[in-house]
């Protein structure tokens, strides 16, 4: 359980979170994303269903279904989300209660 929130050295943050590293990471990510789609020029895709063989189908499908799931979850959250102490505060059944 030991942690000391005050032992940070300002200006000397981890190399991984420096703006320069992050710019590099974003750049590499874009290259990798493009490469996985471009790989389809070299590797012919055999899908079970014809639409799966459309160029970049998996990339588009992965992206769009995820957007769909996040948006759906967000909307559902408006209905389902409650404060953390919701269950602690909810009325308890107590047969002996006389405080009705």
């Amino acid at each position: 359980m030991a942690h000391d929130p005050n032992n940070r050295v300002p200006g000397h943050d981890h190399w991984l979170v420096r703006p320069k590293t992050i710019r590099w990471l974003i750049g590499i990510s874009i290259v990798v994303l493009v490469a996985t789609v471009a790989a389809q020029f070299v590797v012919p895709v055999h899908a079970y269903f014809s639409i799966g063989e459309v160029f970049g189908f998996n990339a588009a499908y992965g992206f769009l279904t995820c957007v769909g799931m996040v948006v759906f979850a967000k909307l559902l959250g408006f209905v389902l989300k409650r404060p953390v102490d919701y269950y602690a505060k909810s009325p308890k059944f107590n047969a002996d209660a006389d405080d009705v």
Partner: protein, 559 residues
């Protein structure tokens, strides 16, 4: 080595009892050796019925071997070893003992040759998993444990009704493929599905598991749902209803994990999600699909335990479970971060990890059977897994913002367990033959084809892109999400309370009406006695009655 077949579950139970009774110095040794001895015993069991006994007038088959049963028992024993390694210096002895008996229950179910033995070990698991939940030690753990026990004992009763009905109607408690065509098999089906966290009562899992101790969660993640998967493979292979139940579980897990803030609750929802994949596979029911279900159960236990270990290590070191309060831990917990990421990549079925070689068998089985909708949904779900567990868990726990927390790495045994399972995830991913050789049916499936790797990478990496593009929408809120458990945690108590209120009001109204009325009645009785018991002329009446009596006597005398 053994003259007679020693049920592996019994070895584990004996080990668990020895842990409880031994001197504190010997406990770690016994706890670590027991799963290994059990594993050895598991591999000594050949195919077919190996041990029978008489129980309640039935000949029961305590141990029946097959490739599938050995596969599940093996991963349960490996899991018990990894769990004990992770926990033995931090857990109290009763938590270790309970977790080992819980594991013994799972191994016992794996080898159960008939429904009676299966049921006995099933209940053993229910009891001792409840103890593991209680070992969380908080008020929340106590309450969650009681809810957990109620659900599982209720599920056990439903299962028992089915088993007894089946025995009465068919005369045989043997485990065999059943058709859903009568009340008995439906009861068994429902009883098993309750343990698989199938809808509508999936909520028990994410309700109870996150309340356990950092160590207990590792054990809980493995056994209950996966024994249910084994039972479904044995009892209901190819039952089409399972496809739709499984798909519901898959998307339920994703959506609720996306809404969640508690890191171990995110992982709990993703158990439901992953078990959903296995349930779908059992519903498809082909050899490839059943192989996929078994393989996925195996890999899932390893990587999910790894994820629970990394979350447990964070919880143990910081005492914090909410994503909204965590972040930036990669600075001081690099090993935990790397192990967590390996677990996250495995659950997402990244190439070179264990999930890739097992999950793809399931979607291929759907494709091979020309189940187009199922296939599209499974592929979307694979992307969704990366979204809700593969990135969300490591991102919010180890990266995102700098929470200012600088916890040191977890103790050495926790790190050793994480490294062991992380190596396991990679080894299975790189050498699929290790696992494929253990599967119930011969494997012709080849996971590593160029186009499979390319399409999978496209799917996952663009799902990752979606995560970061939508990051503003993913901001963690300190909330809980309503689920089916609302019905028995709020709804039902609310109804009872309403009834109680009504009764109390009725009682008060009755008292309010009855007391003055009684008072009036009493006053009336006391103040107006003459109207009932006498009259204004007492003497005259008496004289009349005397005269009447006299006349009667005279009449009698004359007659």
């Amino acid at each position: 080595m053994f003259e007679f077949v020693m049920p592996p579950a019994v070895i584990m139970i004996v080990g668990a009892l020895l842990v409880a009774l031994a001197r504190p110095m010997l406990r770690p040794l016994i706890a670590l050796l027991t799963p290994l001895v059990t594993l050895y015993a598991i591999w000594q069991i050949p195919d077919g019925i190996q041990l029978s006994a008489m129980f309640l007038g039935y000949e029961v088959q305590v141990v029946e071997g097959s490739a599938l049963r050995r596969l599940f028992a093996t991963v349960f024993a490996i899991m018990a070893f990894g769990g004990v390694l992770f926990a033995f210096r931090q857990s109290k002895w009763w938590e270790l003992s309970a977790a080992m008996i819980y594991a013994a229950g799972a191994i016992g179910v794996s080898f159960a040759g008939d429904l009676i033995v299966m049921f006995l070990f099933w209940e053993l698991m229910a009891l001792f998993s409840t103890v593991v939940v209680w070992c969380g030690g908080t008020e929340g753990a106590k309450r969650a444990g009681i809810r957990y026990a109620i659900i599982h004992l209720l599920g056990g009763i439903i299962l028992k009704i089915g088993i007894e009905g089946l025995i009465v109607h068919t005369g045989s408690p043997e485990i065999r493929a059943l058709a859903l065509n009568n009340f008995d098999t439906w009861m068994i089906f429902i009883g098993v599905l309750i343990n698989a966290a199938a809808p509508p009562i999936s909520a028990w899992l994410a309700d109870a598991y996150p309340e356990s101790s950092p160590m207990g969660g590792v054990f809980l993640s493995a056994f209950t749902t996966k024994t249910a998967i084994l039972s479904l493979i044995l009892l209901f292979p190819g039952q089409p209803l399972l496809i739709w139940i499984g798909l519901w579980m898959i998307f339920y897990g994703i959506i609720f994990a996306l809404l969640e803030n508690d890191m171990r609750r995110i992982l709990s929802y993703s158990i439901v999600n992953q078990v959903g994949f296995m349930v779908v596979a059992i519903g498809i029911g082909t050899e490839l699909a059943l192989n996929g279900a078994a393989a996925h159960a195996f890999t899932h236990i390893i990587y999910k335990a790894l994820l629970f270990m990394s979350a447990g290590a964070v919880l143990y070191q910081t005492g914090i479970r909410k994503c909204s309060e965590l972040g930036g831990l990669f600075r001081t917990m690099p090993l935990t971060t790397i192990c967590g990421i390996i677990g996250a990549l495995s659950i997402s079925a990244f190439p070179l990890t264990s999930g890739f070689i097992s999950k793809s068998m399931i979607s291929s089985a759907a494709g091979g059977e020309q189940l187009m909708l199922v296939w599209y949904l499974l592929v979307a779900a694979s992307a969704g897994v990366f979204l809700h567990a593969g990135i969300k868990f490591p991102w919010f726990v180890f990266f995102q913002k700098d929470s200012g927390l600088r916890p040191p790495e977890a103790p050495w045994n926790m790190r050793a367990a994480m490294v062991l399972f992380a190596v396991g995830c990679i080894a299975l991913g790189v050498f699929p033959g290790l696992l494929y050789g253990l599967l119930p049916f011969a494997v012709e499936y080849v996971p590593y084809t160029a186009d499979h790797v390319v399409t999978q990478l496209q799917l996952l990496l663009f799902a990752g892109l979606a995560f970061f593009v939508l990051l503003p929408l993913m901001k963690r809120t300190d909330t809980v999400s309503l689920d089916f458990d609302w019905i028995y945690r709020v709804g039902l108590p609310g109804v009872l309370r309403a009834i109680e209120k009504l009764l109390v009001r009725g009682r008060r109204a009755l008292i309010a009406a009855a007391v003055p009325a009684g008072k009036q009645l009493k006053t009336w009785f006391t103040e107006t006695p003459y109207m009932l018991f006498s009259s204004r002329s007492p003497m005259g009446q008496t004289a009349i009655w005397m005269a009447v009596l006299l006349a009667f006597v005279i009449v009698l005398a004359i007659i």
